[in-house]
Symmetry: D2
Subunit: 371 residues, 4 copies
């Protein structure tokens, strides 16, 4: 292949991305070259663009929510189910690449905590070859350790699948850490993509009631269509009113599980008051620092015998679960994708997210007219 790949590159914080061209690499053994068909924007991208995550290695091709087609394979490569990948196969992959050899990967079986983990579009600069390690581009080179899922035979819009890789997978991780039992009452704080997946998964995992708390009526309405049974607009209610609503639904006890998908300390303060004695508070919204809160261990955690559970990123198990869920109900999840842009409009897409106009924007690298 002699052609050039096109990428939108973050060169400096708070400035427009630059379109750059890179040579398309020949995949080495085990590597897979992917032609991207859709690339989701995560709110973490906005934080990186704004320079709020100082670890960001510049210049970088952002984008960790990619979906594509196999363009070239380095030898025989199989996906997670053992299917041999062929050129043209639609493909999904776990955004995180782990070493598979360390104490976390092998002894603890917690690969999401692998100290050698890297994520496409987050940890690697595009300064040096192979350059193409983020999905705001038309080509991406998958490391040989990447776990892939062939989508052959699935006729689903790739743009709808992007969220499986990040917010969907992280939500699945939350469910693994604390899943509702049949009949439980669940609260979700924050109706962004992560919170919407939590609401959808909570409902599908057996919760009797799923209450979503948020500040935007449109997102709360979407939560209802995804499985929430009740919503509370935090602009129209006081914390005390919300607490009263939840106590009323639970014979005065409080929620069995509260999932936090906000990323602000103030949400934790409220959320801990909503959990019943013996319940679980699952915090997953903090992709980066979000302030601190005064915690009274006696009142907030010990006297209530509460489990306060931090959830960091996700692994291949969770990506598989999120992907399966969207594949089984694509029309239900499609509305999470609120905006679509051609690749060259990546900066506009980031702006739409930044202004909270877009719930989730997707870049379509194959051209503005794709699907």
């Amino acid at each position: 292949m002699n052609a050039q790949a096109t990428a939108m590159v973050l060169v400096g914080f708070k400035t427009p991305l630059e379109e750059r061209r890179y040579p398309i690499p020949e995949p080495a053994a085990g590597e897979v070259l992917v032609r991207l068909t859709a690339s989701g924007l995560c709110f973490s991208d906005v934080h990186m663009w704004q320079g709020e995550d100082p670890r960001t290695p510049l210049p970088i091709i952002l984008g960790h929510e990619g979906v594509g087609e196999v363009a070239e394979v380095g030898g025989e490569v199989t996906d997670v189910t053992g299917k041999v990948l062929r050129v043209g196969d639609p493909l999904f992959w776990d955004r995180g690449v782990v070493c598979g050899r360390c104490h976390y990967c092998t002894v603890l079986r917690e690969p999401y905590l692998c100290p050698n983990r890297f994520v496409y579009g987050i940890h690697r600069s595009c300064e040096h070859p192979p350059h193409l390690l983020g999905s705001y581009a038309d080509y991406l080179l998958l490391d040989a350790r990447t776990r892939t899922f062939s989508l052959v035979g699935c006729d689903v819009d790739p743009a709808v699948l992007v969220a499986a890789g990040c917010s969907g997978a992280t939500a699945a991780h939350c469910l693994e850490v604390a899943a509702p039992s049949l009949g439980d009452v669940v609260v979700v704080q924050g109706p962004g993509p992560l919170g919407l997946f939590l609401a959808a998964m909570g409902a599908r995992a057996g919760a009797r009631d799923v209450i979503v708390i948020g500040g935007t009526d449109a997102r709360l309405k979407l939560a209802l269509s995804l499985g929430a049974t009740c919503t509370l607009n935090r602009r129209a209610t006081t914390p005390e009113e919300r607490r009263t609503s939840i106590l009323e639904l639970t014979d005065g006890r409080g929620a069995d599980i509260v999932y936090e998908a906000v990323g602000a300390a103030v949400a934790v303060t409220e959320g801990l008051t909503l959990v019943r004695h013996g319940g679980a508070y699952v915090s997953a919204g903090f992709g980066q620092p979000g302030g601190s809160l005064p915690l009274d261990p006696f009142r907030d955690v010990v006297r209530k015998n509460v489990r306060f559970l931090g959830v960091w990123v996700s692994d291949t198990r969770h990506a598989r679960q999120a992907l399966d869920l969207i594949l089984s109900e694509p029309d239900t999840f499609a509305p999470i994708i609120s905006h679509r842009f051609p690749l060259s409009d990546a900066t506009q897409a980031l702006e739409a997210m930044h202004r909270k106009e877009a719930l989730k924007a997707v870049l379509l690298p194959a051209g503005e007219g794709s699907r």
Copy 2:
């Protein structure tokens, strides 16, 4: 029975207990009248005596760690294993009495959270009959719902068993919430009775290393005899030095589980820095408020994917486990009982605890020379 029972009664905060006499009641159906042979002092008793727990109903017979002999039984009463209780049988019991009917007792199977739970020596005043509901006395009347364990055939000093009922049982609850896997490294904060049981149980449940942090050399030395493999005196080390020691023992990761048995917010702040990513922080030391701390959810909980687990009191399962453990190694656990007093010296016993002179004091209601 016509005789009178003698009790040491808390009449006013921070004042000496008063010796009072009450009629010995006839047990109704299912009730058991116990002649106490040993009554442990818990540090919660000191808090109540000092008026630091405003819920304390005055006047009250303190004492929730009792061991005794069956004096009279209301009809046929069986212990947890189905043995019929007979007059003279040595007896142990779960200090907490639960309703057995509510959502917590039946649907959630979390009886320690039963809203109708009461504890001998804590929740019931002695103002009205049957008066004898605390173990700073020579007789105690067990409610028909009390879960008892016959000690027939066990030739163990009752004074050594008192701790099974409260600190031992609470430690067993901590182990239920997060038990070490084979080879784990465990930290215990605080070498009081609760922390000592945590060290002993952690070692016996498979931990490879058990590090105890405390401020008193004598207590740390006792921890070693109970199974700790290493101790750190917080008066002789900085928090950073302690953290370094623990990282060195764990290939740089941190402890798999940290158990908190201090009850002060500052311990939580330190303890959360000692847990590895993916590990558990189990907080059980707060029997009453112990201040608050600034918590950064991103740094302290989410990025580390940590489980922060509150543990409140205990139930019959835990009492059984703690009792079994002491019965199997009574000589190992005997040194936890540092002081013995006749019943009439209850105030002196409280003072010895208050001054931290006594690790655990025991009252011997049958007379100073008993055993």
Copy 3:
């Protein structure tokens, strides 16, 4: 109350039930006298009627799936949520009464295994007072230890609720023992009431696919309406064809969980071949002996690293979960009740079950015209 209660009594195996009258008792403290509004027939009743369960104490009022209204209360009695019961309140209860004091109830928290457990309509003869301990009657006296659920405010046909008490609750127990993770593939063997609840709960607990195997097209069709995604008629397929279908759905692995709701050894033989390596086989269909099978531990259990899990009856947690599920979707579950009879036609109802004409029959003690 001076009136007489009417009951249909099993006097001899394989003979018609006899209508008998008993004095209506005055409830003692904690007891609740219930006027029955619906009484479900379980296939165990047929086994007892046919003399296939030799423990059956004759004469007996069968019926362990009762729903009713409070007729009289012995003092102040509360339900599981703490609501005080009042005359006229519609009421549901856990069919099993446990002692709440033994090792199984307290230390192991497995009350379904309480050796003192008794079930209305199964374990107690009606020969002696209070006689009214089965629900093929118009009145039932609830023991003071019975866990009740007030249905005040629920406008649901009591006939639809009966199945929550036995097959629904046992299915919930199966889910507690092995619940699907999001995306799992689940197989249910046997589309009787137990299997139908398993299919419904499996689907609502996150399974991606729920395959039901059975011999009756009508029941398999009902399974689909309850949440199954696929059915296999065992009269129209060979075991090898069924296995092939399931392997195809699972990339060649087999089902993550197989639930057995048949009660015949031959089903276990087949079922174990349908589970993937590392999966779970949950056997709950054997309410009584159902033959034996040759088991090769290497091939069937060890090489596959399979969990083979026996499930016996259920407890209050499970009854609550099953009740909540039906209350939230009564129209979905209503078709499980295929036949309704007046109390006096109890023998005909048993015959309809025996002939497998009825999926589940319900007696309406308040009269043939009720609802």
Copy 4:
């Protein structure tokens, strides 16, 4: 390296191994060439030698329990804790090599079930390069995916460590599947190396009593020194007497967990009668077929609400746990190694195992006099 390696090769079933020489390979990137210092014999080796496992690929270098020293490294290779391996480092490794990419490795996190798993000394013939894939040799070439543990700084006899890799690791897997709670009573069937590790681990994981059943007094005595609290010689007792002993120790209930380490169907039949209602039967002794038994699902599994759990091989987590345990108490575990032979006497070593003279034999490839 130009020298030749020496290996003892299984050329035909039931015939003496042949000494052969192979070129010592240069390790490719990620590979590690190991000079073996000890090689354990597992009873599976005897089965393979006897032709009882028809999958055995001839010719083959047997031996899956190797310990050695790094002879040469292909580039920079790290062990599980991240330590860079250097020539001369003593080394231990997980005997099983898995793909790290399949559904079992990534989605299910059950790598012991990886369909691409291979084990040194079991699955690969020595016919083709690199030949050296079993540990009855003086050199072994570790595949790049092998998980290694540097033993730098551990002054422990390598012969004592061999058992960690197979029987120790499999025992750790059993404990992961069902670990005793504090105070549980545990039974182990079979005092071979697997059963001895189960007894040792059960005792160290919190069991109150560990009863070992076996047929050889010397092995039962060794079990006591490893942590068993009681032994039953099956040649001196009837099954009914053994059952009675266990019921007596458990207030009539039966063992909380029974671990099977025999590999014969008759042991399963007995073992299932020894488990309490609600307990676990963990079967791990079947490395190959061991007959079948008649199983009555009602009586044996369902009515007892038992978990019957198959355990197949082990993974890196388990190898780590077993290794740590031996390293912490090498003198306790040393007696498991009953016989030592020079490499050239491998056939005699197999014969000593076959005659049950040796509990575990070890080959010392560095010469008969080593340690």
